[in-house]
Symmetry: C2
Subunit: 123 residues, 2 copies
């Protein structure tokens, strides 16, 4: 059903707020992460940096409840429509990881923080 | 400003309808594609299968006019807010490439075709 082979076993997964349409983040899934996402109805990704499954929200409590799963025409990209518990998908405390806009040679922060990362992650 | 190195020179770029918020497609950009996108204000991707720049809409006329460019927290994913000329981003004739929803073991088509691909691409 999904072509995990094309990119060496992991493919991009976009998480989108099911209510507002805001794009929250992009992460990666292997076949195991996808199966767990379907089974648990919560987003589970594959962390490329840590080389293992990443159960989104495991540490912060900010899980993503699945409202719908979509596949693109080439069957090699996943779109998740989710409810973001805690209101923020980004570990930096913003609702969306895409909180910076490109303006010429500059990046401008275009969102407000929902939480303080130091409080949530105890770092 | 953007980390093109992490994934061997090409990173994912999400195209989202600037007006409706619908996620239209995911494609890939190298540094050259990104620079051309910024310069021309039209989405230019890097085709992994053809190994060269892909000026979206070059053949079909269905270009994507850039309304905003956003970068994620890790600076390795791009989000384009676009106006999709012709009303459809997908080469299969759908507005969005994500026209199929996962339902158990099945995929269900959840959108209507905007155009007939055979007419647009003369195939």
């Amino acid at each position: 059903m999904i072509d995990f082979k094309k990119t060496g076993g992991i493919i991009p997964a976009i998480a989108q707020d099911a209510d507002t349409g805001e794009v929250l983040m992009l992460a990666w899934m292997n076949e195991e992460a996808f199966a767990e996402t379907v089974r648990t109805n919560r987003a589970c990704y594959f962390s490329r940096s840590r080389g293992k499954l990443w159960r989104k929200g495991e540490e912060s409590g900010h899980v993503q409840e699945i409202r719908g799963i979509y596949i693109d025409c080439d069957a090699d990209t996943i779109l998740l429509k989710v409810t973001q518990v805690g209101g923020a998908a980004c570990h930096e405390g913003y609702k969306s990881c895409f909180f910076r806009q490109v303006e010429g040679e500059l990046l401008r922060v275009v969102a407000d923080r929902v939480f303080d990362p130091q409080t949530v992650y105890k770092k």
